[in-house]
């Protein structure tokens, strides 16, 4: 067994073992979780190193081969997403450990956080390496259950949001499973590498592709099926919002990309690509517009997720137009940079909202009094979301723009520009509130907020949370430097047809 194999086994099994340990010994849960988080980060780095060094490989768990065994494919994209999960997971763990939610103040039993958190992490890791459409269904359900639990323990209002999320995503899973059943009925195989380009463009194939797509669109909250996302993401605890917005939604897109460029490659005609791209365009514009109209910081960030995921959807029309390679690396870099910066936004927002005792954007006047670091993290993350060079967001959009120019698809380039303007507009609203020394409507401001606006100096707890956010934001910037040399690694994807 090579180091890469060992790392992947650790990545999938350690979170589950740690989750059980944390459930059985709640008093040790924080220690266990932090140690596992660090180990998982190291394992993800080892796996990435193995892929960059020796290329992608396949691992059949326990030596059982397909169709009955569980197959894992470990390639560059999977490793990049494993690394993203590890980064967000580690930062979220530090953030939550530093926040020290006390049982008396929490609306839930805080014992459940760490097991659910680790189960979610393990489910995501398993999802990214799964090579088989049915195993992906299983891991998707795993992720769903853990996410719903995490949202539900974030408070009473969050439970209603968790319910909507649960129904939507369970329905999405069922539709996805129906599609998978049809695929199996048509080609009698589920293995992704085996299925490359395999689905024929007949009625069953089209129906199966549509069903799988709809299921994943629901899970990925792609416009107009994003109805569950804003409440669920805005009401959860900061680390939960971070991993949901940064990674869980990205996982759905990751599967969508693998499916359309793998089994459904034959079906990805210009018309189909345009249809998916139009959904993305709707997401970019509608999500951006609603982010601009939000009054609460966390809701704004949640709508921004809807909008940013729309950029990734440009992969399909651009791949259909012939610029597959560029569009793929571009969409994946946007996905990674968005994951890191969005998680950083949520973690920073957690500190900011806690500090100001208000989540209203116009009550955030002034970044003085010790939480400058949180605002710095937010600003860095915003720079990456907008796509300023040399951040990760810039490199991703650069490649998407290149793909659009090379294939002559100028309307998508225009969408990229319009979406960037919207992104800058809603993020500027927040930063402007931070720069201003006082809120504009001094008189109308509730006295309670006025009393707390001065705020207390940062506590060690605040500092831990801010460092977690800053680490992620710096990661989003670092993606910009790392992506160009790692582009070949990103386009190592088993079962994807260029």
């Amino acid at each position: 067994m090579t180091a890469g194999d060992a790392a992947v086994i650790v990545l999938v099994s350690l979170p589950h073992a740690a989750a059980i340990a944390g459930f059985v010994w709640p008093s040790r849960a924080v220690t266990v979780s932090l140690i596992s988080a660090a180990t998982l980060m190291a394992a993800a780095l080892v796996a990435m190193h193995a892929v960059a060094g020796y290329g992608a490989w396949r691992h059949d768990v326990g030596g059982w081969e397909a169709p009955l065994g569980i197959g894992w494919t470990i390639d560059g994209v999977a490793c990049a997403l494993l690394l993203l999960t590890a980064a967000v997971g580690l930062a979220g763990s530090i953030h939550h450990a530093a926040a020290r939610v006390r049982p008396s103040t929490a609306a839930h039993d805080p014992r459940y956080f760490w097991p659910l958190w680790l189960f979610l992490w393990g489910g995501l890791n398993a999802l990214f390496v799964s090579a088989d459409l049915f195993n992906i269904f299983v891991t998707l359900e795993f992720v769903t259950v853990a996410s719903v639990g995490l949202i539900a323990l974030s408070g009473r209002l969050a439970q209603a949001a968790a319910w909507r999320y649960l129904l939507a995503t369970l329905f999405g899973s069922s539709v996805y499973l129906l599609g998978v059943a049809l695929i199996y009925g048509r080609v009698a195989a589920l293995d992704l590498p085996f299925l490359a380009q395999a689905l024929p463009a007949d009625l069953v194939g089209m129906t199966a592709a549509s069903l799988v797509t709809i299921g994943l669109l629901l899970k990925g909250a792609v416009f107009p099926l994003h109805f569950w996302l804003p409440s669920a993401h805005a009401r959860a605890l900061p680390p939960v919002s971070a991993i949901l917005s940064g990674v869980v939604v990205a996982a759905a897109f990751y599967l969508l990309a693998r499916a359309w460029l793998g089994p459904f490659r034959e079906l990805l005609t210009p018309a189909a690509g345009t249809a998916l791209g139009l959904l993305g365009a709707g997401a970019v514009l509608w999500g951006g517009l609603l982010a601009l109209l939000q009054r609460h910081l966390k809701r704004m960030i949640a709508y921004s997720t809807v909008s940013q995921l729309g950029f990734c959807m440009l992969l399909f029309p651009l791949a259909a137009a012939g610029a597959t390679q560029l569009a793929w690396t571009g969409a994946m870099v946007v996905l990674l940079a968005h994951g890191l910066s969005k998680a950083a936004c949520f973690l920073a927002a957690g500190v900011i909202v806690r500090h100001h005792r208000s989540g209203r954007v116009d009550a955030l006047g002034g970044c003085q009094q010790g939480i400058g670091l949180a605002w710095f993290a937010f600003a860095l993350a915003a720079a990456s979301l907008v796509g300023l060079p040399p951040t990760g967001g810039f490199v991703g959009k650069w490649w998407l723009a290149q793909a659009a120019i090379n294939s002559g698809a100028y309307p998508w380039l225009a969408l990229l520009v319009a979406g960037t303007l919207l992104t800058a507009a809603y993020l500027w609203r927040v930063l402007e509130a931070a720069i201003r020394t006082g809120p504009p409507d001094e008189a109308r401001r509730p006295a309670a907020i006025a009393a707390h606006r001065e705020g207390a100096p940062a506590t060690p707890s605040d500092r831990g949370m801010m460092i977690a956010a800053l680490g992620l934001a710096l990661g989003a910037v670092a993606v910009g430097a790392a992506a160009p040399p790692l582009a070949p690694v990103l386009s190592s994807a088993i079962g994807v047809t260029w």
């Binding site: 709809i214 107009p224 099926l225 018309a271 723009a401 290149q402 520009v417 303007l421 720069i435």
Partner: protein, 560 residues
């Protein structure tokens, strides 16, 4: 001065480029009196040395960075680097006294270093990607500098600034993405220049025009420059706006086939800006706002030169090209003079009454330079402009008209001195406790010396380029002063009320205002958007949306 060994030259260039970034960790240290000012000043010093001692053609290649970045110093670059390095260094030195609160903040100092690093990278870049990255860094840093005072006015100005800059950035992004094919390689200026066609030229024009504050897209400039802290205004108005001109010089092919129409549009816009800026500047009572409008006017002349750049005509290469030479002269001359004016105006507000008249008189020096008094760098700039016009065959009608704009500038500078003759705000001038004489005197004298000497030293005896100035030029430079004096005495004689009315006429005031409410159609639209979103959230409509999405997918799949 003996020539440096070759590897020392490269090292000097590398240190000049890297120093702003190396100074970022040094922000952890803060001196008690001067905050981060020593670090900020130190960050620009290697660039001063590089501008002085590194010869043309010093080349620094970074093959491992994105597609292999190349930085080099050439004659054009030196014209931008010298004033930049001097002004960044002296403004930082003066910032210890002029903006003591800001240089204590790591955020402001960090943004300052970011702007500094970006500016040097832009100047020395020899490929499009490095230029683009540097411009973006400068833009972000500029935003921080504009908003540094954190007042309502500063934030509103920053809003206009970032809005327009974002348009410029996006235009630039699309242009760069079109020009640089494939990944991140192959972005050298020579390669890229070949690929520029009509639409890309238009995008570049928008981007650089906004950065330059050309008439029509200048709205951010008079708002943003006055609200920044004094040293930041100096670098914003003296240096950062020049990056647009540099981009034009580097990217757009001289005498290319862009067409006469574009060139003439630029020529006329520039000329109009040179008068309009003065007219607006005369109607303000704040020295910094006046100086910002003067920048609009001066950048108008640069816009004219940008138009000449693409006109066919007899040309040389490098600074032997009269148009490139004229732009270089303007960059050095205006960069130093305008920065000195901003710094001097700030200095006046913080000088004790006993020394005030001395400082006020010394402010006359850069004012005279900008007004092109005989013997100053203004004459150099003016004669270079005339030669550029002559070389492009445009001398006929413009040169006489230029006297108009020259006269206007004289009047504007007189107005500046008039406005600053007595303490504007007693409260501000009393706040001189932290200001020590030598700390202010030394950099200020250095700044004045730079204004007087550096342009002549660099470009006065340019052997490669067009011959500079003749005594006749200095004599001709008196004409605007005579005209201005004549006009002034005429109004004085005629009626002091006329004068007052002229100066207090109510032009639409450019003032940064907070947006209190959105216009009704936008509000209605947003209401519809929110209502639509609420509908999408209804559980029953989810079923409908699903059906629609399924239908769209099915239709698209069956179409293919």
């Amino acid at each position: 001065m003996p020539a440096l060994p070759a590897d020392m030259q490269v090292l000097l260039l590398a240190v000049a480029l890297a120093m702003p970034w190396l100074m970022i960790p040094a922000l952890a240290i803060r001196t008690r009196d001067a905050g981060h000012a020593p670090a900020l000043c130190l960050a620009a010093l290697p660039a001063v040395m590089a501008a002085a001692w590194a010869p043309d053609g010093t080349l620094l290649a970074l093959p491992d960075a994105l597609g292999g970045w190349v930085f080099a110093l050439d004659a054009t670059g030196r014209a931008f680097l010298a004033p930049a390095a001097i002004v960044w260094a002296l403004a930082a030195w003066l910032a210890a006294s002029l903006a003591p609160r800001q240089v204590r903040s790591p955020a402001f100092s960090g943004l300052w270093l970011l702007g500094l690093g970006g500016n040097f990278a832009v100047i020395l870049a020899q490929d499009l990607l490095a230029l683009y990255a540097g411009l973006a860094l400068m833009t972000v840093a500029g935003l921080g500098l504009v908003a540094a005072e954190r007042t309502m006015q500063a934030v509103a100005a920053a809003r206009v600034y970032i809005g327009m800059m974002l348009v410029a950035e996006l235009a630039m992004f699309v242009a760069v993405a079109t020009l640089v094919g494939g990944g991140f390689s192959d972005a050298g200026f020579d390669t890229v220049r070949e690929r520029i066609d009509g639409p890309v030229l238009a995008l570049l024009g928008i981007a650089f025009g906004i950065k330059l504050g050309a008439l029509g897209v200048h709205a951010w400039l008079p708002r943003a420059h006055p609200v920044a802290p004094v040293p930041a205004s100096a670098v914003l108005s003296g240096l950062m706006i020049k990056s647009g001109a540099l981009g034009w010089l580097r990217l757009v092919e001289p005498a290319g086939d862009a067409g006469d129409v574009v060139a003439h549009v630029l020529l006329w816009t520039g000329f109009a800006a040179s008068l309009y800026g003065v007219a607006r500047g005369l109607h303000t009572k704040r020295a910094k706002t006046l100086l910002a409008w003067s920048s609009v006017s001066q950048m108008g002349l640069v816009t004219m030169l940008a138009g000449l750049w693409i006109l066919p005509g007899t040309r040389g290469s490098g600074l032997a090209d009269p148009v490139a030479f004229a732009i270089a002269v303007f960059v050095v001359h205006h960069g130093l003079a305008k920065a000195a004016l901003f710094l001097g105006a700030g200095l006046l507000e913080r000088t004790a009454a006993s020394r005030r008249s001395l400082v006020w008189a010394s402010l006359g020096l850069p004012a005279l330079a900008l007004a092109a008094a005989p013997g100053t760098s203004g004459v150099l700039a003016k004669s270079a402009l005339e030669q550029a016009l002559a070389a492009s065959g445009q001398a006929g009608w413009i040169v006489p008209v230029l006297y108009l704009s020259g006269t206007a500038t004289v009047v504007l500078m007189a107005r500046l001195l008039w406005l600053t003759r007595s303490p504007h705000d007693t409260a501000a001038s009393s706040d001189t406790s932290g200001v020590r004489g030598p700390a202010l005197a030394l950099p200020w004298v250095a700044m004045l010396a730079a204004v007087l000497v550096v342009p002549w030293l660099m470009l006065g005896s340019n052997t490669a380029g067009p011959t500079a100035t003749a005594p006749r030029d200095h004599a001709k430079a008196l004409v605007p002063f005579v005209l201005a004096g004549f006009a002034a005495s005429l109004t004085w004689w005629a009626d002091r009320r006329v004068q007052r009315r002229l100066l207090n006429a109510r032009l639409p005031r450019v003032q940064a205002r907070a947006v209190t409410g959105l216009p009704a159609p936008v509000r209605r639209l947003s209401l519809h958007v929110v209502r639509g979103e609420r509908w999408l959230h209804l559980w029953e409509s989810v079923g409908l949306t699903l059906i629609v999405v399924a239908a769209v997918l099915a239709a698209a799949l069956s179409l293919g």
